[in-house]
Structures are given as C-alpha cells and as structure tokens.
C-alpha cells in the first residue's frame, strides 16, 4: 500500500475541512476522491474532495497583466508561492476502535494534520460498511455540485469494487440514491444524467 499525502490541514469543522498543499502535490487529489485523516491511533476521519481551489496573491495579480512573462518566473511563482492550494473536503464518516461509522466525526482533525488519499481497499471497506449512510452528508450539502460529486465518487468507487470482485455495488448505490431522491425530480434526473456518463465511460 502506498500512502499518498495530499497536504496538511488548514482549517476544519465537524462537517468538513480544508487542506493546503503545494502545487507539486496537486497530481494526487482529484474531485470526488476519498481521503483520510489519521488523527491518533484508532481514530480516522474520512472525507470526499469537493473543491480544489487556487487562490491568487499580490504577485500573481501583477504578473497576469504583464506582457511576456518569463517561463522561469511562472515556474518560480507556482512552486515557491506563499499561498497554498486549498482542497475542500466534505466529512463523510470516521473509524474509531476499528468500527466504521457513516456519522459525522466526533472531533475534527487539527491544524497541520496530514491528510492522505484512501487506497482502493480502504474505499471498498468504507463504502461497503452500513447501508450508504454517508450519502446523506453529500445530499445535504446544497451549495455543492451534488450530482457531479456523486458521479465522480461513484465512478472511482465502482472501479475499486470491480477490482475487488463486486461489480454490482454500483447498482446498489444507484438504487439507494434513487430511493433517497425520488421526491426530488430535478436533482435525481441530473444525477442519473451524470451516472449515465459514468456508466458510458466505465
């Protein structure tokens, strides 16, 4: 198992947290990826990447209006910038004393805690535990692109489940989402549109 760090914690709450990282670390996290924060022995928080945000700083503001910016200057700005890239994470559950839960974590991670990408085995373990209870955290987050986030997550989870011998997971997950969203026609249809794209590309 290769542990891939995606950065350290900038700020956090029970419902989610923000990770800061260098541009060099940006290859790893992708939209919809599942991450984990190992806080202490036997306490781990899980989350989904829902936003990767690159903030400007004073120098970038000046450079974007300059003519003929030198490649070395661009590289220097990217790799030695003062402002980190921000990765927003939605908390979706935790594991304590070996027990997985789809409830919100009782305590958030602390500043500068390292955050890692979950590997496929961990992803399968978490998404197979319980009965898709973590979907409610995603569906509650009204200011997020819920359907896109779910589609991205389902696509990645499906790949992991297929690899670990459970190709029907996606059907169970889709069924649960349809059940949860059957009274919300616009959102469900948007989600199904996204899932169609997932299935086409899978």
């Amino acid at each position: 198992m290769t542990i891939i760090s995606i950065g350290r914690l900038l700020r956090a709450g029970n419902a989610g947290f923000v990770v800061g990282c260098r541009v060099t670390q940006l290859d790893a996290p992708i939209f919809g990826a599942m991450v984990q924060a190992d806080l202490e022995q036997d306490y781990r928080i899980y989350g989904l990447v829902y936003d990767i945000h690159i903030d400007d700083d004073g120098l970038v503001r000046q450079l974007v209006i300059a003519e003929d910016v030198d490649e070395n200057v661009i590289a220097d700005n990217r790799f030695n910038r003062n402002v980190p890239l921000e990765i927003s994470i939605l908390a979706i559950g935790y594991c304590q004393n070996g027990r997985l839960s789809h409830l919100l974590p009782p305590r958030p991670p602390l500043s500068l805690d390292s955050i890692y990408l979950c590997d496929q085995e961990e992803l399968c373990k978490f998404t197979n535990a319980g009965h898709f209870g973590y979907f409610r955290h995603i569906l509650r987050a009204e200011n997020l692109p819920i359907e896109e986030l779910l589609a991205a997550h389902l696509q990645q989870a499906q790949l992991a489940h297929v690899r670990y011998g459970d190709p029907t997971w996606i059907e169970r997950a889709s069924q649960e989402l349809i059940t949860l969203l059957r009274d919300n026609y616009p959102l469900l249809m948007n989600l199904l549109g996204s899932l169609r794209d997932v299935m086409i590309t899978a």
Partner: protein
C-alpha cells in the same frame, strides 16, 4: 429442479406486495412488487397479519408514480437499461385495490408454545373454533399480501371432499377449485344471470346436476325451450349437449305439456293437461299484458266467479257464445240466452267489457292442454314424484309462447306451493315428516317476476317467504333489472356471467356490500365461462372460470369412486408417488 425442490417451491407462498394504505370503506391498497400482469382484477388475495389472515378481492389495479414527471417522461430512452429499470422500480409502481371481505384467526405460529396454548383453549371449548368472519378490522401497514393458495380457497369456500360441497368452477389465474355449499344454496332462492350467450343454461345444467346428485332437494324445472331433459344441440357450437335425463334416468321425470306431446322426438314420462277448474281469475289477471286486458277485467271475472264458483267459471265462460243473437217475436235482434251479452246483462256487467274479455280469452280457450277433465291428474303425479325424491323437468314442447309459460308455470307452482305449505304446517304441528326441500327452476324469470306482475305471481311469494316452507327458486335470466327489486334483494346466491347493461349490473349487485367495486368486475368478465359468485350463499364475492359442461364433468360427478370427484393437485400426486 428435482421433485423435492418442486414440492418445496410449491409450498412457498410468494408475496405479491405489501399493504400501503386504505381502509374498510375505501378498500385496501397494496403496493405490487411483482409485474402487474401476474395479478388480475378479481384475484383472490390473502393478507397475513400476525395471528390473523385477511381475505379479499382485487377490484382495481392502478399505476402510480412518486412524482408524475417520472411517469410522463420516457426515461428508458435517456438512461441505460439497467439504470432506467432501477429508476422505474423505485418511482413507478402499481397499486392493487383490495376489497377486504373476510378475516380468520390463524393463531400463533404452529409449533410454538403459544400455539399449543391457543389450540388447547379451543379444544377445551374455552374459545370457539376459528372460522372466517366478515372483516371488522384491517391489517397494519406493510402486511404482506399473496395470491390465495388451494388451501386458502378451500378454507373459505369449503373443502372439495366434503359432502355437499360442489365444485362450480376454478379460480381464474391458478385454477384452484372453488366450491359452493349446496346445502346452503337451496336454503334461499338463487339466481343465475348473464347476457345472452354467456353460458347461463350450461351453468344451470351443471348446478342442477350437482343438486340432483347431492339429492337433498327435489328440483322442478320449467323448461320453456326443451333444453334440459333430453340431449340437445348447442346453438353456437353445434355440438351435442347431454340432457339431465340421460344421466339421471331413474331420478328425473320428464313432463310434456299437452296430450301426446313429444320432446326432442321422445315420449315424456307424463303429459300435463290443465283442468279448466284449476284456472283461477288471478291466472287470467296475470296475463293482462299478454292478452291486452283492460281495467274492467277484474270486475267481469269477479262476476263470473260469483255466479259459477271458482271451479266452474272458466268452463262456463268458454261455453258462452260471443256476439250470438236471436230474433225476438218483435223481429228485433236480442242477445242469445247462451251469449256473453245475455250473461252480462243478467249480472249487470258492462256488455262490451265482457265481450272483449271473452274475445281476448279466446287464446286461452283454444289452448290444447287446457281441458275440461284431464285423463290423469298429472299435477298430483308431479307433486308425488317431487315428494318421493324424484326431480321433474316440465318441457313446454310446442307451447313456447309467453302465454303458455306464464299460465302453466304460475298455476303449477301455486298448486305445489299449497301442498308444501300444508305439509310444513303439519310438520310444525306434529314434527313427523319434514317436507323435502324443493327448488323451482325458472327461466326467463323477468317474465314472471317483473315489477308489474310480480305481486300477482306465486313466484314472488316464494322468493320472499317460501324459504320457511321448504321451497326456493333458482331463477335464470338475462335481464335482472326487469325483475322486481324486492325479489332480487331476497336472492341468496347469485351467479352472474358478463352483463353489459348498467341497470342489469346494478340489479345483480343490489343489497350487497362493496357493489361499487364489483360493478366494473361484472362488466369485464370474459363473455364466456367466467362468472362472478355473489351473495349470502358464498362466503365472499369471487370471479371464477366456471366448470365446463362436458364429458369430463360427468366423469367427475358420476365416477364410481368418490376420489374421481376431486381434481388432484400436483402436490397430491407427488405425495402419492413418495415425495
């Protein structure tokens, strides 16, 4: 699949849905979890709820959606098949509307200590043996519903093996035998209804064969079209139709109307002639519509009876000459002494009214079977045969006019009624010989029981009160709406084939609970071989595929061993060969 698996499979009771709403008044709503084509309107449904089992009838199937937009949009065109199927499974559904009819206490789970306790309290007589009762409560939400098994049908409609239970047909989807209790059937008047060509006569033959075989009641059939006694040819298929007399030669007496009458080229056992002395003024009044009689008729008839008596009036009136005149000494014409006019003048009756009545009654005077003195007292012979446990089919032969049917059937029934009434009264006094129950079968019943004349016929009296006197009617008709409401409401068992007319449907369902739900069911029965069982004589309404009147029926009914009466289930057959 091996046989053991097959048997196991048969013992499983797959659910078809679960209860989602409804009530006693508005029917129960069951969310279907199997494809809707597996359940039909009229399906017999069992809903299990703890210690109780509820029995009902599917009266409607309705498509629904959690949001109408899911139904409006053909999402299968937009989404992959599996995703569309998942979506439809969650958002589109079919609800069954189930008319709850009966409930039965099943007790705790068999084998549990609670069951033993429950059973013991019944065996000790502390609790009555559970039997189906009209539904008084409803099962809770999410109670599981399933299609009735043969055991459920037998629990409600009676076991095939039990004496007196007669298979009238089979459930439509699964072919489970459905019985009616003949003992109960003959306790009240019954009716077989259906538009023309729906198989009423065949069903009547089947029921009559069952009654004759059961032999707890005598049957008198007024066979207007000579169909029941001897072998006939079906009007639609051209195939030979076995007559009842062919199969029950010892117990059926065939009576032909009129001297020398032949029925289907065969000599009947008796010939029926009506004595003029038997015809009463009421018999003539009954024919008001047939003979186009006026309001003055009762007055004229009363005058005749006053002068000649109830036995002689008809003969005397027949002998009078209508319009006969003689020339008097003064050269003027006067009514002849034996003329109608002379009699009318003598008794102070309007001459024109009397002459008109005489003229109209000419049709009656001319009936060949109405004679001064019959050679044999056939009516007494009929009563004797019925009393002796035989059955009588009165075939009208060539006399198939409404006039003949109305006159003869009413007159004969009146005579029989008098005998049974007298015997019942004697039995109640002496407790010696209980009268044998009698079922009178009347075709084209609306002619005898319509609103205009129902009160004047013996039939309506029988339908209303003769149950007490051991006589009931089995009426066969295609226009039940024409039958007097009061008679319809008294019918115990009603067996109805397809009916198209709203009024007819309303009439068949009159006085029954849940008639609004059953209304559509009657209109949507298959035009042939499907009938709806209704009324007091059956535990709950149920549409069935009626038994076929063919060789197999006779083999099953008259087979040497009792076992042949039962159509064995696959499970029984497997058990017999050791599984």
């Amino acid at each position: 699949m091996n046989e053991v698996d097959k048997l196991k499979n048969m013992n499983e009771k797959p659910e078809i849905g679960y209860l989602v709403g409804g009530g006693l008044r508005e029917n129960l709503k069951v969310r279907l979890v199997v494809p809707s084509h597996q359940v039909q309107e009229g399906s017999f449904i069992v809903i299990e709820s703890g210690d109780w089992q509820f029995y009902g009838l599917v009266t409607d199937l309705q498509l629904g959606a959690t949001d109408p937009r899911f139904a409006d949009e053909q999402s299968e065109a937009r989404l992959p098949i599996n995703l569309a199927a998942l979506l439809h499974g969650q958002t589109l559904y079919t609800n069954l509307e189930v008319l709850p009819a009966l409930m039965l206490e099943r007790g705790p789970e068999v084998g549990s200590p609670e069951y033993a306790q429950w059973r013991e309290s019944i065996d000790l007589g502390l609790k009555p043996e559970p039997s189906p009762i009209p539904v008084k409560t409803i099962p809770p939400h999410h109670a599981l519903a399933r299609l009735a098994e043969p055991g459920d049908v037998a629990e409600i409609f009676g076991k095939v093996e039990k004496v007196g239970n007669f298979i009238i047909g089979y459930t439509r989807e699964q072919d489970h035998p459905v019985c009616i209790n003949l003992e109960k059937f003959v306790q009240r008047s019954a009716g077989i209804f259906g538009a023309t060509g729906t198989g009423k006569s065949f069903l009547a033959r089947i029921l009559l064969a069952g009654l004759i075989k059961f032999n707890r009641a005598s049957v008198l059939v007024f066979d207007m079209h000579n169909e029941y006694a001897y072998d006939d040819t079906a009007s639609d298929t051209g195939l030979r139709v076995i007559g009842l007399q062919s199969k029950f030669p010892q117990s059926i007496r065939v009576v032909g109307l009129g001297k020398g009458a032949k029925i289907r080229d065969k000599m009947p056992d008796f010939n029926l002639e009506i004595s003029m002395s038997d015809i009463q003024p009421e018999d003539v009044e009954l024919l008001s519509r047939e003979l186009n009689l006026k309001e003055t008729t009762p007055t004229t008839l009363e005058a005749l009876v006053t002068l000649y008596g109830r036995e002689k009036w008809f003969s005397a009136f027949k002998q009078m000459r209508n319009g006969a005149m003689v020339v008097g000494d003064d050269g003027k014409k006067y009514p002849a002494p034996d003329s109608v006019a002379a009699w009318a003048n003598n008794v102070g009756v309007n001459v024109m009214a009397a002459e008109a009545l005489h003229s109209k009654m000419g049709r009656l005077f001319g009936r060949a079977y109405v004679v001064e003195q019959p050679a044999v007292d056939t009516v007494s012979e009929i009563v004797k045969a019925l009393d002796g446990g035989q059955h009588v089919v009165l075939s009208f032969g060539e006399h198939q006019k409404d006039l003949d049917y109305l006159l003869v059937s009413n007159l004969l029934t009146r005579r029989i009624r008098e005998v049974w009434e007298r015997r019942t009264n004697e039995f109640r006094t002496s407790r010696e010989k209980e009268p044998r129950p009698l079922v009178i079968v009347v075709e084209e019943a609306h002619k005898l029981l319509n609103q205009e004349i129902a009160n004047q016929t013996t039939f309506s009296t029988i339908a209303r009160e003769m149950r007490k006197y051991y006589v009931t009617l089995l009426i066969i008709d295609q226009r039940p709406s024409q039958i007097y409401d009061e008679v319809m409401s008294q019918l115990g068992t009603r067996v109805s084939g397809w009916l198209g007319d709203e009024d007819d449907i309303g009439a068949v369902l009159s006085g029954l609970a849940g008639r609004d739900a059953l209304r559509g069911m009657l209109a949507r029965l298959q035009p042939k071989e499907e009938v709806l069982l209704l009324g007091w004589g059956v535990p709950m309404p149920l549409p069935i595929r009626s038994r076929r009147y063919e060789d197999q029926f006779w083999q099953e009914l008259l087979g040497k061993s009792g076992e042949k009466l039962i159509r064995k289930s696959e499970a029984d057959l497997l058990k017999e060969i050791g599984y």
